[in-house]
Symmetry: C2
Subunit: 348 residues, 2 copies
C-alpha cells in the first residue's frame, strides 16, 4: 500500500480538507501515477455536495488527472516508469458488453467505474485526482505527450473529450456552421475544437463580456442571445449547436437556429427537463443528441490530436489550499476557463 495525501470532503456540507489514505500496490496490469496536475470540473462540486444524490464519503474528487508513471505491474505493456500518463472520468468498466467492446466504455451496460465516488469491482471506494498518487489499470490510462504544458492538458481528460467526441460523432467538418452555447470550461474547448475542424464558429452567449474572449479563442462570430434581432437573423442558420449550458433553459429558442438536418448536441444537464416543441424538430428534420465524455480509444485520439495541433485548455493554476474558494468562484462563473490544481502544493 502507498501512502497518499489528498483533499477530501467528509460530508456534503463540509469544505474539502486534508485527508491521508492508502492506494493499492499496482497489480500486474496496473500503473502507479504520481499526480502532477488535476483539473477542477463543475461535476466535482455537484458530487462533493451530493447534488446528484448517492454520494459517498470521504470523497477525494478529481477526474482530469495528469502525472508521471512511478511503478508498473509485471504485465504492463503501454507504459514504463517515467512516462507521462493521464486518467479521465473512469478507471474501469465491465470490458465485455457491446459498448465496452466497441470502445464506448463510458456507456458500459453495467456502468463504468468512476474515477471517484464509485467502487472498484472488489468494492473498494475509488478516490480521485486531488491526491498525490493514483493506481489504475493501464487499459484505462492515457498516454500524454510532452509537447504541451501539462497543466493545460489536464482539463482535456474531461472538458476536452466531452466536446471533442460529439463534434466528431456528428461529423463536423470544414465549412460547417457551428454554434457553441455557453462559454465555460466545456464551451471554450468546444470553440477550439470546432475551429480546428474547419468550421465557421459562432459563440452564443447571454453575456456581452464574453465577446473578446470568444474571439481570442478563435470564434469567427459572437451573437448575444438576448438580442432579438440578432437571434432572428440566425434562424435556420447552423448545422450544429453544441449546448454546454447546465442552467435551466428552453431548448426551443436554439432549435430554431438550426437549418435542415441540423443537430443540437446536449452536454450540460439542467436541473429539470427542458421543453422541446415537436414542431421545431419536424419542420426541418432537426435533432437533439446527448453525449457523455468519450471512450478510452477516442480520448487517446483526442489527446494525440491536441498535441499535434497545439490545442489545450485555458487554465488558472491554484494550490490545493485554495480549492474551496475556487469552488465558490466557479459557481459564480468567475474562472477563465478551468482551475487546475498544482498537486506539488499537496506535498508541502
Amino acid at each position: 500500500m502507498s501512502a497518499t495525501k489528498a483533499y477530501a470532503a467528509q460530508s456534503a456540507t463540509t469544505p474539502l480538507a486534508p485527508f491521508d489514505f492508502s492506494r493499492r500496490e499496482p497489480g500486474v496490469h496496473d500503473v502507479q501515477i504520481e499526480i502532477l496536475y488535476c483539473g477542477v470540473c463543475h461535476s466535482d462540486i455537484h458530487q462533493v455536495r451530493n447534488e446528484w444524490g448517492g454520494s459517498t464519503y470521504p470523497m477525494v474528487p478529481g477526474h482530469e488527472i495528469v502525472g508521471r508513471i512511478t511503478k508498473v505491474g509485471d504485465h504492463v505493456k503501454k507504459f514504463k516508469v517515467g512516462d507521462l500518463a493521464g486518467v479521465g472520468c473512469f478507471v474501469d468498466s465491465c470490458r465485455v458488453c457491446d459498448n465496452c467492446k466497441e470502445g464506448l466504455e463510458q456507456y458500459c451496460e453495467t456502468g463504468m467505474v468512476g474515477t471517484y465516488n464509485s467502487n472498484e469491482k472488489d468494492g473498494t471506494a475509488t478516490q480521485g485526482g486531488y491526491s498525490t498518487l493514483i493506481v489504475v489499470d493501464e487499459q484505462y490510462t492515457l498516454k500524454i505527450s510532452d509537447k504541451l504544458p501539462l497543466e493545460r492538458v489536464a482539463p482535456l481528460l474531461c472538458a476536452g473529450i466531452t466536446t471533442y467526441s460529439p463534434l466528431k460523432h456528428v461529423g463536423v467538418k470544414k465549412g460547417d456552421r457551428v454554434a457553441v452555447l455557453g462559454l465555460g470550461g466545456l464551451g471554450h474547448m468546444a470553440v477550439k475544437f470546432a475551429v480546428s475542424f474547419g468550421a465557421e464558429v459562432t459563440m452564443l452567449s447571454s453575456s456581452p463580456s464574453k465577446k473578446a474572449d470568444a474571439e481570442k479563442l478563435g470564434a469567427h462570430h459572437f451573437a448575444l442571445t438576448s438580442d432579438k434581432e440578432t437571434m432572428k437573423g440566425l434562424q435556420n442558420h447552423f448545422d450544429v449547436i453544441l449546448n454546454t449550458v447546465s442552467a435551466q433553459h428552453d431548448y426551443s429558442v436554439y432549435l430554431d437556429l438550426l437549418r435542415t438536418n441540423g443537430t443540437m448536441i446536449v452536454v450540460g444537464v439542467p436541473p429539470s427537463p427542458s421543453q422541446v416543441p415537436a414542431f421545431s424538430l419536424i419542420a426541418k428534420r432537426r435533432s437533439i443528441i446527448g453525449s457523455l465524455i468519450g471512450g478510452i480509444k477516442e480520448t487517446q485520439e483526442m489527446l494525440d490530436y491536441c498535441a499535434e495541433y497545439n490545442i489545450s485548455s485555458e487554465v488558472e493554476v491554484i494550490p490545493i489550499q485554495q480549492i474551496n474558494e475556487a469552488y465558490e468562484r466557479m459557481i459564480k462563473g468567475d474562472v477563465r476557463y478551468r482551475f487546475v490544481i498544482d498537486i506539488a502544493s499537496l506535498k508541502k
Copy 2:
C-alpha cells in the same frame, strides 16, 4: 377552367358541405387528374377547424390523392392520359433552394405550396383532394402502380411517406429493434414498413385492445405502456422508437427505452412542448429527431417499394357524405386505420 365538385369547410366551425369551384386548365407542365380516392388525414381536421391557426376558407381538404390522368400539358413527359397518378401534401415549392435541389422539397426554404390551405405562386388558393379533379405540375405528381388496390394506396401519400422516410433516414435495417408508439394511421404504416425492412418490431400502446391488430399488421411484440414491469424490462432495449403520438405526453418515459445510440423519431405534434431530461439523452448518446413527410423523389421510391412488396394501408372506404361523421370517429380513435373517400360518391 374545369368545373370541379368538392366538399369544403366555409369556416372553422361549420361542417364540410358540398362546394363547386373551377380548376385551372393544365399549363404546359401540368397534368389534370380525375380523383378516384382521397385519404382522410388527422391534419385535415386540424386545418379545417383552424387548430393550427392561419386557415383560409373556403377550404377543400385532402392530400392523399390517387386518380387517373385526364389531360396533360404540351411539355409533360412523365405522364400520358389514362395513367394512374398520385398527389401528396404539396403541389409546388421554390425549386431553387438547396433543399429543393436535394429533393427535400418538404423543407423548402421559402415554404412548400401545400396541396390545400395554401397559395400557388400566383396567389390562387390551393384546394385539396375531397374533389373530383386536381391540376398539378407533373414534377409534383407521383406515378402509381396498378398492382395495389387504389383505395389502399391513397394513404401512402401522407401516412406512408411520413413513416417510411424517417425509418430510412435513420437507417433501420435487418435485426434492429424498432418500437412504434401509437397505433393509428401513421403507426400502422410504421409497423408495416419496419417489419418489411427486417426489423424486430414492438408495438407500444396504452390500449390492450390494439394487441391483436398489432400482430395482424406484423408486429413481433406488443407492450402495454401502462404496465410498469413490462416497461422496466424494455429499458435500454430499442434502436429506434417511431413516436406517432400527437396527444400530450412525456418523452422521457420512452427515451429510457432506447439503447446506446438509439433514436426516437418524432412525427406527431402534441399541443404543447414535451419534457426532455438532458440526462436521458446524455447517458446513452440517445437522440430525438423530427421528420416531415418526404420529398417527391423519396415518395416515388416509397410508392414503388410498396408496389413491389405489396404494402398498403388498412382502410375504411366511405362516401364523401359521411365525412363529418368520419371526423368525429377519428377524434375518438375509432378507425382502423384510415378513412378513404370514394370520390365517385361526389359525382352522384
